[in-house]
């Protein structure tokens, strides 16, 4: 597990563990001027400014823009999607940028087709991503399950809006936390990342793409509507500092190739269509060659493999931020925009002498069980603010064995409004 500690004085803005190893595959010096004439210029888009400079400047950027640029910097060369508020900017930017780099953008007929198209493209060797919001995410669930059982790398960005159903398209909610874990039928692995800022949206998009390639699965990036639409001053890391992970290709001859070969970490090479491997991919329960099976041993092996690639790699997957926790006797557990409110509340509370800290998951699935257990041991009270009717708090309660339930305090709001720093400060004063 990677843990970063922040306090008011020592803030380490670099969240990713992937640092300064390799450069991206494309030239950052692409000239943008020529295409500006045919490109319906989006006045906010500062990509030219970004890409033209090896040294990147501080600019103002939207969360959804950061996702799109993160995808490009991670080497994503295939996007299929369907317009939906509040994620549409991701598609719009990639519609303008991908063709310029020879990548593929296609607007599909619906979200079901979108997840299917990126999965197909990934099997043909592409780095593929789609972006959507609640209603589209619901439609994609069957396809997400297919990507997981077939162990095909892809990334789904879900900019959460208020639900259920059409809900409030331009209002924030954190209601898809459980759906991102359990949305598809059957047991399946889940890697879900959750940024709190524009910069982190960029970083975690790259990380999502990297993890999808490394673990051969569908990785979900959950954004809050507010973060998707928020603009912040950011200085993105220079391209030389961006680490890109690519899938491992098989080196064996075709007749030795197993599409689901096991090694000790449950990560295995992945051939692409067209490489000459003539492999079969199916959503049916399959053996290690990829062919359908009804044998209990092979079915069990497949399910174990899907589970173990998460459980054996928890330390690589889980990222948390521990903020002002060293001396805290009250902890707040929150993700995304709600964690930002918590940080503001903590700063106000500490001015009044209350020892409050924050534990924030950057990886929300797999859940940071160990860090939460440690938090539960060290503090008297945990406050769990969230923009839903109690999804994170269920996980905290699951890990509460020796704690009285009354020490786990909720703040829940689903009305299109954010939980504010004052809401949290009030609760801190209540529980003291």
């Amino acid at each position: 597990m990677q843990e970063k500690k922040t306090s008011k004085t020592t803030k380490n803005p670099e969240v990713m563990q992937e640092k300064k190893i390799s450069t991206a595959t494309k030239s950052p010096a692409a000239t943008e001027d020529k295409v500006a004439a045919v490109n319906p210029a989006k006045t906010e888009s500062k990509l030219s400014e970004l890409q033209n400079n090896l040294e990147r400047k501080t600019i103002i950027m939207q969360g959804n823009e950061a996702v799109a640029y993160g995808a490009l910097d991670a080497g994503v060369n295939f996007f299929a999607g369907y317009p939906i508020t509040p994620s549409t900017e991701v598609a719009e930017i990639l519609a303008a940028e991908l063709p310029k780099r020879g990548g593929t953008f296609i607007q599909m007929e619906d979200e079901i087709a979108s997840i299917c198209a990126i999965t197909g493209a990934s099997l043909a060797g592409a780095k593929a991503l789609t972006a959507t919001s609640g209603p589209g995410f619901s439609l994609m669930q069957e396809g997400i399950g297919f990507a997981k059982i077939t162990e095909t790398p892809c990334v789904v960005v879900n900019v959460q809006r208020m639900g259920p159903s059409t809900g409030m398209p331009t209002s924030p909610a954190q209601g898809d936390i459980m759906q991102s874990r359990w949305g598809s039928h059957g047991d399946s692995p889940a890697i879900v990342l959750y940024p709190e800022s524009v910069k982190e949206s960029y970083e975690l998009t790259i990380r999502a793409v990297n993890l999808s390639e490394k673990y051969r699965t569908c990785v979900v990036l959950l954004l809050d509507e507010v973060i998707g639409h928020m603009r912040e001053s950011v200085r993105l890391p220079d391209m030389a500092n961006v680490r890109v992970i690519n899938r491992i290709k098989p080196t064996v001859p075709p007749h030795w190739y197993k599409h689901y070969d096991e090694n000790q970490k449950y990560l295995s090479p992945l051939a692409s269509y067209g490489d000459g491997y003539h492999f079969h991919v199916t959503g049916l329960t399959h053996d290690s060659q990829g062919f359908p099976t009804n044998k209990a041993v092979e079915a069990g092996d497949m399910m174990d493999r899907l589970r173990k690639k998460i459980t054996y790699n928890i330390r690589d997957l889980v990222q948390i931020e521990s903020h002002e926790m060293d001396d805290a006797n009250i902890a707040i557990f929150a993700a995304g925009i709600t964690a930002r409110a918590a940080k503001a509340a903590i700063s106000m509370a500490r001015e009044e002498g209350f020892k409050v800290g924050l534990l924030r998951p950057l990886t929300i699935w797999p859940f940071p069980d160990d860090a939460v257990r440690k938090m539960l041991r060290n503090v008297e009270t945990v406050i769990v603010p969230e923009l839903n009717q109690g999804q994170l708090i269920r996980e905290i309660r699951r890990l509460t064995k020796d704690k009285n339930d009354s020490n786990i305090v909720s703040i829940q709001r689903v009305n299109g409004q954010l939980i504010t720093p004052n809401d949290i400060l009030r609760k801190i004063k209540e529980v003291i």
């Binding site: 045919v38 020879g102 087709a113 299917c116 198209a117 099997l123 269509y273 067209g274 079969h280 199916t282």
Partner: protein, 282 residues
């Protein structure tokens, strides 16, 4: 071409895997698989450069048996997956094998939009008028008044004319044949693989065990005879009196036209907007 020895088929099967197949005795799917293989073999296509994609259903089990890159996807979604593959690797021949329920019910949306885009996929729609794998439920091509387990008193719905549907949506190559007309089928498959654009071949197929029994069609031989006797080549339609054509299966290439293919249009776009790589993939 029909007298190519059986050995050719064996060269393309995954002989060490997964036989016997799942299809019932008398099913047309094996005949169609044979025709696809003979088309590929006689065109001498690069086997590393063909992907066969299918959805869910009896026909969609076909990719398991053929030694190519194969993808067995979700119910109805084969064309969407195929679109992703084709867009990323435009030089790949992508064959979609699908059934009437898979392609025109749950997957109807993907069919019409792929046809509209005119993306170069060869869709082989095996129409047996029923959901066979789940035991005989009514599909969008089940004829009016026919019996299905979910239409036990006769189907009250009108059925799709699949070729008309594809043409209406913009498919640039559309053909219809039956499982009886094996050589014709092979020729159409070859033509569709050569055609630059979205192509759909409707193969009227026999499901003697389920559809045949429910509708008292006799066995597989009777159903094949019906295909022979009850179908008319497109070229003969104008020459025959109206009563000899009515209610018959019209076989032939119903449309073949050249209009801009989608991956080519996209490549043009890439050339237009990219400055240095001339459309090369990133």
């Amino acid at each position: 071409m029909a007298n190519i020895p059986q050995k050719v088929v064996h060269q393309y099967l995954r002989h060490d895997k997964k036989f016997p197949h799942v299809w019932c005795a008398g099913c047309s799917n094996g005949i169609i698989l044979g025709a696809i293989i003979r088309a590929i073999a006689s065109m001498n296509l690069d086997r590393d450069n063909i992907v066969m994609v299918s959805g869910i259903g009896c026909s969609s089990r076909m990719p398991v048996y053929i030694d190519l890159d194969t993808l067995h996807t979700l119910h109805g979604r084969s064309i969407a997956y195929a679109t992703g593959i084709k867009m990323h690797k435009p030089n790949t021949k992508v064959i979609v094998v699908t059934g009437d329920g898979d392609c025109t019910a749950i997957g109807g949306n993907h069919l019409i939009h792929a046809a509209r885009r005119n993306i170069d996929l060869s869709v082989i729609l095996i129409n047996n008028n029923i959901y066979g794998m789940t035991g005989g439920q009514c599909s969008p091509t089940t004829p009016h008044d026919a019996i299905a387990t979910t239409a036990p008193y006769g189907n009250i719905e009108p059925n799709f004319n699949v070729c008309d549907l594809a043409m209406g949506a913009g498919a640039s190559f559309v053909a219809r044949t039956t499982a009886f007309h094996v050589t014709e089928m092979q020729n159409y498959i070859q033509a569709s693989l050569e055609h630059p654009g979205f192509s759909l071949i409707e193969v009227i197929a026999a499901c003697p065990v389920i559809y045949g029994r429910l509708n008292k069609k006799g066995g597989a031989p009777q159903m094949m005879k019906e295909f022979r006797d009850n179908s008319v080549p497109l070229a003969a339609v104008d020459k025959l009196p109206k009563e000899k054509v009515e209610g018959k299966i019209i076989r032939g290439i119903l449309r073949k036209e050249i209009r801009q293919e989608y991956t080519a249009a996209y490549a043009d776009l890439v050339r237009r907007v990219s400055d240095n790589n001339g459309g090369e993939k990133c």
